[in-house]
């Protein structure tokens, strides 16, 4: 549950440094992660979905954009299902299974890009802010401004300016990730800055840039990466919601939120059209959240309780 913890971390000083990872905890963390059965299952599910998305062109049974005369066919396990379409067809007679693969592809891609971009920019801002005390108040106030705009509204505003498409959605999601990432990165970096080797480095006469690169970034990066990965689930969810509202991908491209949105017209008659993509979104976000939580528990002994 990324958003909450991030918010809490930023507001409650008591938990501000919660994301600091101590070295011994990191040992064998992956093995310990897998010992948690829920986390292992979540990781497995995510892997399967990611593989499905990556290999969509080979796994799909139909062209995702191509329609047919058999519309609203229910999934194959239902009495009226057809072997031709495993998960049935949508209101246009398009194969839902094939669209799901391509849809997951786009949805995941949007999530990865947004989290990567927002995480990168956000942590860079946070690190620099911690490194340079003069910069700090300005940067943090700017982050406060950004934080005041809910991601969905930011997305809407950007789409109004840039027009419908994947790019504005990715930008909106990235921008809304920046303040959280910056705050957490700053918290982590301040912890690192207090440590002796920074002073030592300065004493040896290293330049600011060298200090920043060699010491600060290298020591803070892994904790920051963990935090960024925790945001993945929420980012996917907001991205799908933006698509649901009619922003995001243009037809005939498939995207999970858009598929769910198009399916609501048929909810009364063929609920599977909206339910299947919604469930896939749920499974992706749930897996990401469970895996993220477990990762945090394993790497952060303070929260292990």
């Amino acid at each position: 549950m990324t958003m909450t913890s991030a918010n809490a971390a930023s507001a409650a000083p008591a938990t501000e440094d919660a994301d600091q990872v101590t070295a011994p905890a990191r040992a064998h963390w992956f093995r310990r992660l897998l010992r948690d059965r829920a986390a292992a299952l979540a990781l497995l599910t995510l892997t399967v979905i990611i593989l499905g998305a990556v290999f969509a062109p080979w796994l799909a049974t139909h062209d995702p954009a191509s329609n047919s005369r058999s519309i609203m066919t229910p999934p194959v396990w239902s009495a009226m299902g057809e072997a031709e379409h495993w998960l049935g067809t949508d209101g246009q007679g398009r194969d839902i299974y094939s669209r799901l693969l391509y849809g997951a592809r786009l949805t995941l891609l949007i999530g990865f890009l947004a989290v990567g971009l927002g995480g990168f920019i956000g942590s860079l801002i946070g690190l620099m802010s911690a490194f340079n005390e003069k910069l700090d108040p300005i940067v943090m106030r700017t982050m406060d401004v950004l934080l005041s705009f809910p991601a969905i509204l930011l997305g809407l505003a950007l789409v109004a300016v840039m027009g419908q498409g994947v790019v504005p959605v990715v930008i909106a999601l990235s921008v809304s990730s920046i303040p959280d990432c910056a705050r957490v990165a700053r918290g982590i970096a301040i912890g690192v800055m207090k440590q002796e080797f920074i002073e030592a480095g300065r004493a040896v006469g290293l330049s600011n840039l060298q200090l920043f690169q060699r010491y600060l970034v290298r020591n803070a990066i892994s904790s920051i990466m963990i935090f960024i990965s925790l945001r993945f689930g929420q980012t996917i969810l907001i991205g799908a919601t933006l698509s649901f509202l009619g922003l995001g991908a243009k037809p005939p491209a498939a995207e999970l939120g858009m598929m769910a949105s198009q399916g609501r017209e048929f909810l009364l008659f063929a609920p599977h059209i909206a339910v299947i993509p919604s469930v896939v979104i749920f499974v992706i976000v749930l897996s990401a959240n469970v895996a993220g939580d477990a990762l945090r528990d394993v790497l952060d002994p303070r929260l292990q309780a």
Binding site: M1, A11, L153, F282
Partner: protein, 312 residues
């Protein structure tokens, strides 16, 4: 104490300014000429020129920004490019329903979340704890649009108990309540997870504190220990969390309001943005931001009032 409040207020001034700047920039980057948008497709060039002058678009950007700040200070947000109603009027009409929906969502979900979180903390490690934690992680992973659609189908159509089109009246009337129930219930569901998780970890934290240990050592019953000492202290971070969740809830309200045809700010924002009604879009976005800042200001002050550590 006053110090803290004044300090927070001063700190929020630059943020407020930033939000205004953002709103201004939004109008600067809208595609095409705002004057053209206002004038409509059939306008002649001289009409467009007149509108441009009227809107002050022919002046340098800095002059425009100053004029914009002046208007903002007077509470003038311009007129809707589509309905020609004053933006403040449109916002005023939509604010009530949104507040009603958000309060309706929080009033049941926050107590439920706190209860679940406390229970999970007390029974830490038990099956109940695991179940509650699993439920709350599932809760935060569910798309709000899906919850809303399922609710309409379940409690609106299969068992048509509640209505789901628009806001038939204020919440205290019978029809109003029947109309508010489903959107408020759907929206509240997304809040339970975060509240329960925060409460759990914060109760766990507090239970480790000295005075709780003392109370326990004095032989007070476990329930009393938790209610009297644990929960009260544990609620402080939960308040903060709820404040921060207002932003999250506003985002959710955009979706809920769209699906339930609820005449609130979220739907106003979506409608305005999709129809390129930039003045209204700007107004709603700024109001959202202002609301978020205000709530967090209150939370900050509350926080410092409640938490002796911060007071020092």
């Amino acid at each position: 104490m006053l110090n803290v409040i004044v300090q927070r207020l001063i700190l929020s001034i630059p943020v407020l300014f930033g939000v205004m700047l953002f709103g201004f920039l939004l109008m600067q980057v809208v595609p095409g000429d705002p004057a053209l948008v206002v004038a409509g497709p059939s306008a002649t060039p001289d009409v467009v020129a007149a509108i441009r002058e009227e809107m002050g678009l022919d002046k340098p950007v800095l002059v425009q920004f100053w004029g914009y700040l002046e208007r903002m200070a007077q509470g003038d947000l311009g007129r809707s490019m589509i309905s020609n109603k004053a933006v403040t009027e449109e916002l005023g009409a939509a604010l009530g329903p949104t507040l009603e929906l958000m309060i309706g969502a929080m009033i049941w979900s926050v107590p439920v979340g706190i209860a679940m979180g406390t229970l999970a903390a007390v029974l830490r490690g038990s099956l109940v704890d695991r179940a509650i934690m699993a439920l709350s992680v599932a809760g935060v992973s569910l798309p709000i649009f899906f919850i809303s659609l399922v609710m309409i189908q379940w409690l609106g159509v299969t068992y048509p108990i509640f209505t789901f089109i628009g806001r038939p009246g204020p919440w205290y009337t019978a029809e109003g309540f029947m109309g508010l129930f489903l959107p408020a219930f759907s929206l509240g569901l997304i809040l339970i997870g975060p509240v329960a998780r925060m409460t759990r970890s914060s109760v766990l934290e507090v239970l480790k504190l000295d005075h709780v240990r003392t109370a326990r050592a004095k032989g007070l019953s476990e329930t009393r220990v938790i209610l009297a000492h644990g929960l009260r202290n544990a609620l402080i971070p939960v308040i903060t969390l709820v404040g921060l969740q207002v932003g999250y809830l506003l985002g959710g309200a955009v979706v809920t309001e769209t699906i339930f045809s609820w005449p609130g700010l979220g739907r106003l924002a979506v409608g305005a943005i999709l129809s390129s009604d930039f003045t209204v879009a700007q107004g709603t976005i700024m109001l959202f931001a202002l609301g978020f800042i205000t709530v967090n200001l209150i939370v900050d002050v509350l926080y410092s009032l409640l938490d002796p550590r911060v007071r020092k």
